[in-house]
C-alpha cells in the first residue's frame, strides 16, 4: 500500500503486524500525543485468493476452502456458500437438516463471540484471565462439535442439500448440559466485565458510532445493532431453521464500545436459548438430499446473505453450466466493519489507548476480510 501523506506535526505509528494485539494486519495511526487523528487500515497481509480457489473446484468441493475463511466462525461462513450453491443447484433441504444447521451455526456464533469477549477483556488491560476462561469454556462447544461432526475446527459439515451426519445417540441431552454449564459461566463474565467499574470506564462513551453514520458507512453485525438498528440476516432473509425458532434481535442504544460488548453478550444468551430449543424440539426426518458431486448448475447468478458472528456475509455465485462455479464473490463482514473502523477517529475522540479496545469491539477477523 502506498502510504498516504502525513501532516508534519503528527507522528505516524505503525500498529502491527508485529504487535502483541494487532493480529495479521497493519494499522497506521497518525497521532498527536495520545490523540489519534487518522486511522489507516492496511489489509491484505493474509490474502489467500479463496474466491479464485473456489473457481477451480466443483460446487461441493468448495466447502473445504470456504471453511478456512474464519476458523473461529466456520459454520456461519460455510452456510453462506452452501445456501448459494443450493440455490444454484435447485436443491431442497430437509427440515431436520435445517434444524441441525441452525444448531451448529449458533454454536459457532457462541464460539466466535466468546473469542471476541476474551480479546475485549484483554484489550482493556485485564490480565488475560478472562481470555483464558473463555478459551477453556469454548472446549464445551468444541467437544460437542467433535461429537457431531467429527472435527473440532473446520468441520466440512454442511453439504449442499443437507448436513453430513445426524445426531449421535444422546447428543441432544449433552447439548442441554453444555447450555446449562455455559449459562452459569456467563454470570461470571457479566460480573467480571460488564459490572466491573474499571471495564465500564474503558468502554463507556468510547468510539461512538451514531446510527446514521453506521448506516452510511455500511456497518454490520453487532456493530450495527450496537448502534440501535435492528438488522439481522436471520430475520431479514430467514435461512436454515431461523423462521421456526424463538429468538429476538438484540439492539443497544448507547452506540459505544460497551453497547457492542453487551450486544454480543445478549446474543450469546439468545443462541443458548436456541440451542436448547433445537435440542428439545428437533423434528424427525431425512438429513440430506442426495445429488451427484459433479452436478452441473445451470447458468445463473445467485446471492445468499447470512448472519455471521461478525455480521452479514453475502456470497455472490455465478454459474455457467459447468460443475465449477464461474465466479464467486464474497463480501465478508470484517471487511465492511474495517471501513467503519477507519472512520471512527473522525467521528469520535479516540486515543492510542483506545485503539485495541475499539478494534476488538469491531471484532474483525483479518483472514476473513482478506479472503
Amino acid at each position: 500500500m502506498a502510504e498516504p501523506e502525513i501532516t508534519p506535526e503528527l507522528m505516524r505509528i505503525s500498529w502491527g503486524p508485529q504487535h502483541p494485539m494487532s493480529g495479521q494486519t497493519r494499522i497506521l495511526l497518525d497521532t498527536d500525543g495520545e490523540k489519534v487523528h487518522r486511522i489507516i487500515a492496511d489489509l491484505g497481509f493474509t490474502h489467500r485468493g479463496i474466491e479464485k480457489v473456489l473457481e477451480n473446484r466443483s460446487l461441493i468441493g468448495g466447502i473445504v476452502p470456504i471453511d478456512r475463511m474464519a476458523m473461529v466462525d466456520t459454520a456461519n461462513i460455510s452456510i453462506g456458500y452452501v445456501t448459494a450453491a443450493e440455490k444454484a443447484l435447485g436443491l431442497e433441504v430437509p427440515e431436520r437438516a435445517n434444524w441441525i444447521r441452525s444448531l451448529v451455526c449458533e454454536m459457532s456464533r457462541i464460539n466466535s463471540h466468546l473469542y471476541a469477549f476474551g480479546l475485549q477483556a484483554e484489550a482493556t488491560g485485564y490480565f488475560p484471565a478472562v481470555f483464558l476462561w473463555t478459551t477453556i469454556d469454548r472446549e464445551i462447544l468444541l467437544d460437542l462439535f467433535e461429537e457431531l461432526t467429527g472435527a473440532r475446527w473446520s468441520f466440512n459439515f454442511f453439504l449442499p442439500g443437507g448436513v453430513y451426519k445426524d445426531f449421535p445417540e444422546g447428543f441432544a441431552d449433552r447439548v442441554v448440559e453444555g447450555v446449562n454449564y455455559l449459562r452459569n459461566r456467563f454470570k461470571d463474565y457479566w460480573n467480571a466485565m460488564i459490572e466491573n467499574p474499571m471495564f465500564e470506564m474503558r468502554c463507556d462513551n468510547v468510539a461512538i458510532l451514531e446510527p446514521k453514520d453506521a448506516l452510511r458507512l455500511g456497518a454490520t453485525g453487532p456493530v450495527l445493532r450496537g448502534s440501535g438498528i435492528p438488522v439481522d440476516m436471520r430475520n431479514e432473509e430467514p435461512y436454515a431453521a431461523y423462521a421456526d425458532l424463538d429468538w429476538e434481535i438484540i439492539t443497544e442504544d448507547a452506540c459505544d464500545v460497551m453497547a457492542r460488548t453487551k450486544v454480543r453478550f445478549h446474543e450469546i444468551g439468545q443462541s443458548l436459548n436456541m440451542m436448547e430449543q433445537i435440542a428439545k424440539e428437533i423434528p424427525e426426518g431425512e438429513i440430506k438430499t442426495r445429488f451427484s458431486p459433479f452436478a452441473r448448475a445451470p447458468e445463473g447468478e445467485h446471492i445468499s446473505r447470512v448472519e455471521n458472528g461478525r455480521g452479514e456475509m453475502s456470497t455472490h455465485l455465478w454459474t455457467n453450466g459447468t460443475p465449477n462455479p464461474y465466479r464467486v464473490k464474497i463480501l465478508p463482514p470484517s471487511l465492511r466493519n474495517m471501513y467503519v473502523f477507519e472512520r471512527l477517529a473522525e467521528l469520535s475522540h479516540i486515543t492510542v489507548a483506545d485503539i485495541p479496545v475499539v478494534i476488538n469491539s469491531i471484532d474483525p477477523w483479518y483472514l476473513d476480510a482478506d479472503r
Binding site: 504487535h19 490480565f127 492510542v352
Partner: protein, 356 residues
C-alpha cells in the same frame, strides 16, 4: 594439646579464651559486622534478589491459578521454582541488541539506573530501631521521597534514549503518571509526619506502637495505597508498559539482560514503596515479640506484613483492567489530590484540638 597450651595456657584458660573468642565473634557479628550484613543481606543484595525471585515466581504461579492454568511446571519440580533462575540465565546469555541509531552508552546504562535508583531508597527503611542502614534521623522521610522522586526520571530517559515511537509514548506516560501520583502520595506522607511529630522513620514507627496510622488516617491510607500502585507501575496502573497498546512501553527496545534489569526495576520499585507504606501506615516493624529476640521479631513482622501486602497487590492484577491515560490523570488530580489535602487538614485539626 601442647600447641593449645602453648597458645592459651592451661585447659581452664583455653575454655575462658574460647568463650571470649565466641563472645567476640557474636559481638562482632551483631554490632561491627552489621553494616556488612545490611549491605549483603537485609535491605541489600539478598533481600532485593530473593524478593524479586519470589515475587516473579509467586506472580506466575498464582496468576496461573486465576487463569485456570498450572503455571511453571517443569523447572524444579511441579512448583516451578527454578523457572525464574532458568529465565535469568536465558536473559543473561541472550544477545543484547542495540539499535543502530542510539547512543549505546546511555542505552545500556539506563536500565541499570532504572533498577539501581529505587534500590537506593531501601537503605532508609527501619527494620528495627537499630537496624537502619543509613540512619539520618529527621531527614529519613524527605530523603526517601527525594530518591523516589528521581527514580521515575530513569524510565523517561530509558524510553527517550531508545529512539522508538512506542518507547517515546511510554516514557511520556511515565512522566504523566508520576506527576499525578506523586503529589497525593507526598501530601499523605506529610500528614503521617505531622501525626507522628517527626520526619524520622524510626520515630514514625515508634509512634504507632499502640495504634497503626491506618486507623486514624484511613483516607490517607487508601490514597497512599493507590499512590503506591501508581508509582510502582503495578496493574491496574501499568499504563506506561501497557502491552496491548504500546508493545512494551518504554521497555520495548531492551533485550537480554538489559530487559532483565527493567523487569527487576518493577519489583524494586514495588519493594521500596511497599516497605514505606508499611512503615507509615501499618505499624512498620511493630508486633508481638517472639522467640525472645527483639531485632529478630521486628524484622520478622516487617517482612510478614510486606509479603501479605505483596500478595494482595498481585491479587489486584487479576481483577482490574487498566484505566486510560486521561482517566489516570483525572484519578490523580480530581480525586486523589483533593482527598489527600482533606486528609491533611483533618490530621492538622486533630493535632490542633489535641485529639491525638
Amino acid at each position: 594439646m601442647s600447641i593449645i597450651n602453648a597458645a592459651f595456657g592451661n585447659a581452664n584458660q583455653v575454655h575462658q579464651n574460647l568463650a571470649g573468642i565466641l563472645a567476640y565473634i557474636l559481638e562482632f557479628m551483631t554490632v561491627n559486622a552489621r553494616p556488612i550484613l545490611q549491605v549483603l543481606v537485609l535491605p541489600g543484595l539478598a533481600f532485593t534478589l530473593v524478593f524479586a525471585i519470589f515475587a516473579v515466581w509467586f506472580e506466575r504461579k498464582f496468576l496461573a491459578r486465576a487463569m485456570l492454568r498450572v503455571g511453571p511446571y517443569y523447572c524444579g519440580g511441579r512448583s516451578g521454582v527454578l523457572q525464574v533462575f532458568a529465565d535469568f540465565i536465558k536473559l543473561f546469555l541472550k544477545e543484547i541488541i542495540i539499535p543502530s541509531d542510539v547512543n549505546w552508552l546511555l542505552f545500556s546504562l539506563s536500565p541499570v539506573m532504572v533498577s539501581a535508583v529505587p534500590a537506593l531508597a531501601l537503605v532508609l527503611i527501619p527494620f528495627d530501631a537499630n537496624w537502619v542502614m543509613w540512619d539520618i534521623g529527621g531527614l529519613g522521610l524527605p530523603m526517601f521521597l527525594a530518591i523516589m522522586g528521581i527514580a521515575p526520571l530513569m524510565p523517561v530517559f530509558a524510553g527517550w534514549v531508545s529512539n522508538n515511537k512506542y518507547s517515546f509514548i511510554g516514557s511520556w506516560r511515565v512522566a504523566y503518571m508520576y506527576i499525578s501520583g506523586e503529589i497525593p502520595l507526598v501530601i499523605s506522607a506529610a500528614a503521617v509526619a505531622i501525626m507522628a511529630g517527626s520526619f524520622n522513620l524510626v520515630d514514625i514507627v515508634e509512634a504507632q506502637k499502640n495504634m497503626w496510622f491506618a486507623i486514624p488516617q484511613f483516607i490517607g491510607f487508601i490514597v497512599f495505597f493507590l499512590g503506591v500502585l501508581i508509582e510502582s507501575e503495578r496493574t491496574p496502573f501499568d499504563i506506561p508498559v501497557a502491552e496491548v497498546e504500546l508493545v512494551f512501553g518504554w521497555r520495548t527496545e531492551f533485550s537480554g539482560i538489559l530487559f532483565g534489569f527493567t523487569m527487576m526495576a518493577e519489583y524494586v520499585m514495588l519493594q521500596a514503596w511497599a516497605l514505606l507504606f508499611i512503615t507509615l501506615y501499618l505499624g512498620g516493624y511493630n508486633g508481638p515479640i517472639i522467640m525472645g529476640s527483639i531485632i529478630g521479631s521486628h524484622i520478622f513482622w516487617l517482612l510478614t506484613k510486606f509479603l501479605i501486602l505483596v500478595v494482595f497487590i498481585v491479587l489486584l492484577r487479576c481483577v482490574f483492567p487498566r484505566p486510560r491515560m486521561d482517566q489516570m490523570l483525572k484519578i490523580g488530580w480530581n480525586y486523589l489530590t483533593p482527598i489527600a489535602l482533606l486528609n491533611l487538614f483533618l490530621v492538622l485539626a486533630m493535632k490542633v484540638w489535641g485529639v491525638i
